[in-house]
Symmetry: C2
Subunit: 390 residues, 2 copies
C-alpha cells in the first residue's frame, strides 16, 4: 500500500512496493524510486500515460533497486516524474504537481519531482532519482534536502529509461548527510579513496547568479570553507556561461531526439506546455553544430579535470534562485531553465559528481549549495559531507 | 610522408600526418592512431574500403589526438585495423595483415593491429588504439609491448567510430612503462590518487589458461608480487568462465548490430572469413537474453568492485596463449577468441582499466601478464608500473 501521500509524490496509477531483505545495512529503511526505474513484471510509466500503455512489463528490476532491496531497504512506491523526464520543473499535466513541502505554493523542481517531495516531506527515508540535466540537484535545492548526481557511468543505469545516455546518471535524495552516505555505500560498493583537500570557490558562478542569491548562500559557503580550513578563488567558465548552457541543451536534445523521436512519431502523445515545444525543437538541431559541440564538451571536461586535480572540490550555487511559484508561465520557466543550465551543465558536460547541500534559504525558501568533485570521488564527497554536516 | 613501413602497419591508402605543438611534455615524440580516430577534413576508414567510400571527411579531430598534438607529439600516420574493428586477430582481407615483429609468422592480434605492430617494431614511440573487447590488450600481449585499456568513460571517445558504446574505450601502446605513463598524463590530466596496496592473484583465471601458459607467466607473477610485497589468492568467476565470455559476446554483438546493422544492410560490404559470419550472428541475438545479461553484467561489475575495493590490483594472464600462426583457419581462431574473451571480458563487463605487461614468453613468443585496477585507477596503475618496471 502506498503510504499516506498528502504531497502527490507517489504514482497511484502505477503502484509498486517491494520488501527488502530481512537483514542488511539498510534494514527497515524505506525508499521510493522515480517511475523511470524498472521493476520486473511491472510497467514503467516515465511520466506519461501513453508511455505506460505502449510498453510491456519490464523483464528485470533495475540493478540500483535490486541492490537497495538486497541491503534490506523496503521500496514503498514509485514516484512522479515530469513527462519523459524532460523538464526541470516537476509539473506533470497528466498526474499533477507534487507538493514542495518546504516551499508551499512553489514547484518542487524535477524531473525527479516525486522523489524529492517524498523525502522532503518525510514520507520515506531516501529516494532514487535520475539526473541527466539537473533532475536530482535542482529539486534537492528547491525542496531543502540533500541530492547527489553521481559520476557518469559509476552507478549502473540498466533498467532505467534512457533520456540522453551520455548525460544520464543515477542519483538519490535524503534529509541527512549520513543517510546519503549509507545509500552510497550500497550503490557504490567500492571506490578509490578520495580525500578533499582544497576548496575552490567558483567566483564566476557566484557572480552569474547575482548578488541576492550569492548573499543568501554566503553563510553556507563560509561554513563549508571553515570545515575545509582553506578556500581558493577559481574561474570555471572558459566561455560565456550561456554558451556552456547552450552546448548542454544541444547535445542533450540531440540524444533525446535519437532516443525518443521514433516513439513520439509513432504515438503522437500529448505533452504539457514547454515540453511539447522542447521535443519539437530537438528536431531542428543542426548536426554540424552537434559535432562541433561534442568536441567542445571534451574541452570543458579537460578544463574541469585540470581545475580539480585529484584533491579539490568546487563550491558553487546549485540553482540561480529559489523554486519558482506554481503556475508560472512556461515561457518564464524556460528562461529560468536556461539560467539553471549554466550552473547544472558544469558537472553534466564533464561527467563529474555533484552534491547539493540544503544549507541556505532566501525569502524563507530553500536554496542549495553544491560541491563538485573529481571523477569517481562520490564516496569521498559523501564521507566528507557526512563528517562535517551531520 | 609515412615512415618506412616494412610491417604493413600504416594505412597507405589513407595517409594522415599532423605536426604537434612546438613545445609540451611530449615534444618531438611520434605516434600513430588506429584508423577509427577522426581527423578533421580527412575520412576515417574503419578497416573497410566501403566504409571509407561511404563516409564524408570528419568535421572535427578526435579529442585524444588533439590533446596529444597539443602536448607536442607528432602524428605520423593512421594504422590498420580489422574490418570495422570487429575481430581480435589483425588479419584484414582488404589491406593485409600487419607483421608481428616479435613473433614472425604469427598474427599481430587486433583490432588495433597496426598500432601494436608499429610500436612493437619501433616505428613510433607510442600509438593509439581502441579496446572494446580486448583490441588493445590482446595485440599488446601478442606483440610483446605494454597496452592499456582505460576505465570506461574516463578518456573521451568523441571522434572515434563507435562499435559497442557501453564497452568502447581508448587505449594506447608503448615499449616502455615510462612512455605509457607519459601518455597517461596527457590523456587523463587529473585523477584521484590510487596507490595499489594489495595484489590479488586470479587463481581461477590462471587455472583456466592451463598449466603451460600458467608456468610461462609464473616468473612474471613472482616479479610483480615481489614488487608489491604481498599477494593474495582470489576467485574471479562467480560462474563458468565461458558463461562470462558468452555474456560479453551477446551484449557486445547486440550493440554492434544496433550501431552498424543499418549501414551493412545499405551497402552490403564484403567481409573476410569470420567477420561476415559474426555480423550475421548479431542478427540472431535474442532480445530477452540481452535483457537478462544486461542485468547479470551489473552483478559482475559489483562483484569486481567488491573484490578490488579501493586499494587492490588483480593479476591475471592477458591471453590464453601466444599469437596463433598466420593463416590459422577462421574456425580455429574463433575457438581461441572464445577462450580469450573469458579473460578479456572481466575488465570489459565491469568497465575497469587493465594494463598488459610484456613480461613473459612461450616458445620464444611474447605473452602478456595483466593487472586490473579499480574504476578510475588508471593513472595510479601507470605510475606503479612505471616505478617498478622501468
Amino acid at each position: 500500500m502506498i503510504p499516506d501521500d498528502p504531497l502527490n509524490a507517489f504514482c497511484r496509477h502505477n503502484h509498486v512496493a517491494l520488501k527488502g531483505a530481512v537483514s542488511g545495512p539498510l534494514r527497515g529503511l524505506s525508499f521510493a524510486a522515480k517511475d523511470v526505474f524498472d521493476v520486473a513484471g511491472q510497467r514503467t510509466g516515465n511520466g506519461h500515460p501513453v508511455w505506460l500503455e505502449t510498453h510491456p512489463p519490464a523483464n528485470k528490476t533495475a540493478s540500483a533497486i535490486e541492490w537497495l532491496l538486497a541491503a534490506g531497504a523496503n521500496m514503498v512506491g514509485k514516484t512522479h516524474t515530469d513527462e519523459m523526464a524532460y523538464s526541470l520543473n516537476g509539473e506533470n499535466v497528466h498526474y499533477g504537481t507534487p507538493v514542495n513541502p518546504k516551499a508551499l505554493g512553489r514547484i518542487p523542481g524535477g524531473s525527479s519531482s516525486g522523489s524529492a517531495a517524498a523525502v522532503s516531506g518525510g514520507l520515506v527515508d531516501f529516494a532514487l532519482g535520475t539526473d541527466c540535466g539537473g533532475s536530482v540537484r535542482l529539486p534537492a535545492s528547491y525542496c531543502g534536502i540533500f541530492g547527489l548526481r553521481t559520476t557518469h557511468g559509476l552507478v549502473p543505469t540498466d533498467g532505467i529509461v534512457e533520456l540522453a545516455a551520455s548525460f544520464d546518471t543515477v542519483g538519490w535524495f535524503a534529509r541527512s548527510a549520513d543517510m546519503m552516505r549509507r545509500v552510497g555505500e550500497i550503490l557504490i560498493p567500492a571506490a578509490i579513496r578520495f580525500v578533499p583537500r582544497r576548496l575552490l570557490i567558483a567566483e564566476d558562478a557566484f557572480a552569474f547568479v547575482g548578488q541576492e542569491v550569492a548573499n543568501a548562500v554566503a553563510p553556507a559557503v563560509k561554513k563549508v570553507a571553515s570545515a575545509f580550513g582553506n578556500q581558493h578563488p577559481a574561474t570555471v567558465y572558459t566561455d560565456d556561461p550561456a554558451a556552456w548552457a547552450q552546448m548542454f541543451r544541444v547535445l542533450q536534445g540531440d540524444e533525446i531526439r535519437r532516443r525518443h523521436g521514433g516513439w513520439i512519431d509513432a504515438h503522437n502523445p500529448t505533452f504539457g506546455p514547454g515540453i511539447a515545444e522542447r521535443f519539437r525543437w530537438t528536431r531542428t538541431i543542426d548536426q554540424d553544430e552537434v559535432e562541433r559541440m561534442r568536441s567542445r564538451r571534451e574541452g570543458v571536461s579537460r578544463h574541469m579535470q585540470a581545475l580539480l586535480g585529484d584533491d579539490a572540490v568546487l563550491c558553487l550555487p546549485t540553482a540561480p534562485g529559489i523554486a519558482p511559484r506554481l503556475a508560472t508561465p512556461a515561457s518564464e520557466l524556460d528562461v529560468f531553465r536556461g539560467r539553471a543550465f549554466a550552473l547544472l551543465c558544469i558537472a553534466g558536460l564533464s561527467r563529474l559528481p555533484q552534491i547539493s547541500l540544503p544549507l541556505a534559504t532566501l525569502e524563507g525558501c530553500p536554496l542549495g549549495l553544491s560541491l563538485i568533485g573529481p571523477h569517481g570521488s562520490d564516496r569521498g564527497l559523501l564521507d566528507w559531507v557526512a563528517a562535517n554536516f551531520a
